[in-house]
């Protein structure tokens, strides 16, 4: 029983990582907290719902094709937003950046409700992934494993890109020292746009992959953004590997918490987040004054 919950926790952790990776990536480079990240996730889920029947319903390839296509579409929408609006307020007050992404939350929610209506939709799972593995007395549905595998692929792809490509070098340079990177001739504007697009792509991808998992409705945005925040904060905002660790901590805590003290599971996760933040402040106190 504990094993089952542990596996479930890791599965959910991977899902959370997919959501949070985009958020933390964007923050790492452009110092923008994208409150609309959950909305982009939601958009990815709805687009997947729309595209699955159009491609090859029921097949694995059709499902993943729909997910990828939705992620690209979400990235395009995010890029347009970045180039038209967000670009004007880099360097402005944190509050103003937050407000502008909140504005996007409202606009996207309205758009989604207008296009797809207020009711919950469900995305069918590919037929090949419907079953469950039976190990001993325990049932493990296959679909979460597929998600986990896909998540691993994404993680590996990200590591490869970040460490071994020119884009990755620019990304790391911009994360470490924005000013110096731009002095050395890195096109800052382009890096910001590309990173934002990549973050949106990840949000759309996560939304699409999670779509068959539960209901798809226009209230997904706020629930998702809050969990993504928690994961990013626990892992350290802007730290991709931290986000992976944070996602696993949250996923496993949630799964274990549901088993031992169901009512306190969420409180526990927020307490971990608060503890991490407070510990951070203690650490800073010991260091040199900023």
């Amino acid at each position: 029983m504990i094993l089952v919950q542990l596996v479930n926790g890791l599965m959910e952790g991977m899902m959370l990582f997919l959501i949070a990776s985009g958020l933390t990536l964007i923050f790492g480079v452009s110092r923008i907290i994208n409150f609309a990240h959950g909305s982009l996730y939601m958009l990815g889920a709805f687009l997947t719902w729309q595209l699955v029947p159009l491609l090859a319903p029921g097949t694995v390839a059709g499902f993943f094709g729909a997910v990828l296509l939705s992620a690209v579409l979400v990235a395009v929408i995010g890029t347009i937003f970045e180039m038209l609006i967000l670009r004007r307020i880099y360097g402005a007050d944190t509050l103003m950046q937050l407000i502008i992404t909140i504005a996007l939350v409202f606009i996207l929610r309205d758009a989604v409700r207008t296009i797809w209506g207020p009711n919950s939709l469900s995305v069918p799972m590919p037929d090949a992934m419907m079953g469950a593995l039976v190990i001993g007395d325990n049932f493990f549905p296959i679909f979460p494993f597929v998600i986990f595998g896909a998540g691993l692929v994404v993680v590996l792809a990200m590591i490869l890109v970040i460490h071994f490509t020119r884009a990755g070098i620019l990304l790391r340079a911009a994360t470490d020292d924005r000013g110096m990177a731009s002095l050395l001739g890195v096109n800052e504007k382009l890096v910001f746009t590309l990173v934002f697009a990549a973050g949106c792509f990840l949000a759309g991808l996560a939304g699409g992959m999670a779509a068959p998992y539960g209901d798809v409705n226009y209230l997904l945005d706020t629930t998702v953004i809050v969990s993504a925040f928690i994961v990013c904060v626990i892992g350290g905002l802007g730290n991709l590997y931290g986000a992976l660790a944070g996602a696993m901590v949250v996923g496993v805590t949630k799964a274990m918490g549901v088993m031992f003290f169901p009512r306190l599971a969420m409180v526990l996760i927020f307490l971990i987040m608060a503890a991490v933040l407070v510990a951070r402040s203690l650490g800073r106190q010991a260091g040199p004054a900023r």
Binding site: I89, T94, A103, D110, T114, L237, M266, A274, L277
Partner: protein, 321 residues
């Protein structure tokens, strides 16, 4: 001598005229537009207190609280729980709402002021979500997601219009106290820490202590608003501490105008009106709200109060500051 006195006194006279005019206008709407008008006025007034409490933190302390609904919700629950669980008479229970909110502000604030900027905002969010989750899940004590209902006659049985008038009096007191706080030595300390905490520290202030005091005062008045809201509706729900009310308050302050005492007041007025009337006209209220927020950030970052102030400056009126 006379000229100096006159210069010093005139703005005060204008301020009092402005306040009297605003009260008269609200009271006129309250008395002349029937029950629905009174309900709207009451809601506007409660939100004015709520938004102004957040404004104290954001405009003067430069602390972006991303979980202010926690103290609004604690205000409602402090009041409702005192009646339902501790058999306190309803009139006396009024004290417990703001009290619980203030205590919540003291506990959470002590943690939050250790951080700055975005991390401060994140920790306030975490604290608010903890509050919300506890209210939502502790069925035996808080009633869980069904909330607490039926513990009193809404508005103590006052008519809608009389309740709105009573709330107005209380709101005036609250705003006056907040005004005095902002213009006291403490207010100066809050502002100086908000502008440059290191310089303030060099001047002998303790930034964290000053911020904590500001946080507790702010939480207390958010609690007053929450208590009033619970009296208004005769209930308390976990949503009162949820992300929705947090966003409402934030939007009101930003819409009304940062760096201005009346920002929260203007924001509460305009936002509540928009929220009540726009959905009657169109199904796209959220789209409109999003566009308004974009316009505020891109075009007028000082919000409505900034605009009004500029207009007042043109007309040679200083009273609206």
């Amino acid at each position: 001598m006379m000229a100096r006195l006159a210069r010093a006194e005139m703005p005060r006279l204008r301020q009092m005229l402005f306040v009297a005019g605003a009260v008269a206008a609200l009271e006129a709407v309250n008395r002349l537009t029937g029950v629905s008008g009174s309900l709207l006025v009451a809601e506007i007034i409660i939100m004015m207190v709520f938004a102004s409490s957040l404004n104290l933190l954001m405009s003067f302390g430069h602390m972006v609280s991303f979980g202010h609904a926690a103290y609004f919700g604690l205000g409602s629950y402090g009041f409702a729980l005192a009646i339902t669980r501790f058999d306190v008479p309803a009139e006396a229970a009024l004290v417990f709402g703001p009290l619980l909110a203030g205590i919540g502000g003291l506990v959470f604030g002590a943690l939050c002021v250790r951080l700055t900027e975005i991390y401060f905002a994140m920790l306030t969010l975490a604290c608010a979500q903890i509050t919300y989750t506890v209210l939502f899940q502790w069925y035996d004590f808080t009633g869980g997601d069904t909330g607490l209902t039926g513990f009193m006659t809404p508005r103590f049985g006052l008519s809608e219009a009389n309740f709105a008038s009573a709330a107005m009096v209380l709101a005036l007191v609250c705003l006056y106290v907040l005004w005095r706080v902002v213009h006291s030595p403490l207010g100066l300390a809050i502002r100086s820490v908000g502008q440059d905490r290191y310089r303030a520290e060099a001047l002998g202030l303790s930034p964290r202590r000053v911020q904590l005091v500001a946080f507790v005062i702010s939480a207390f008045f958010a609690g007053v608003a929450g208590t009033l809201f619970a009296v208004f509706h005769g209930n308390a729900f976990p949503d009162y501490a949820g992300l929705g009310f947090t966003l409402d308050a934030l939007i009101m302050v930003v819409l009304g105008g940062l760096n201005s005492f009346l920002g929260g007041v203007w924001g509460a007025l305009v936002y509540t009106l928009l929220k009540n009337f726009v959905p009657l006209m169109t199904a796209h209220w959220e789209l409109i709200l999003g566009l308004i927020l974009l316009a505020i950030v891109l075009v007028m970052p000082h919000g409505l109060a900034g605009g009004v102030k500029r207009l007042a400056g043109m007309l040679g009126w200083g009273a609206l500051r």
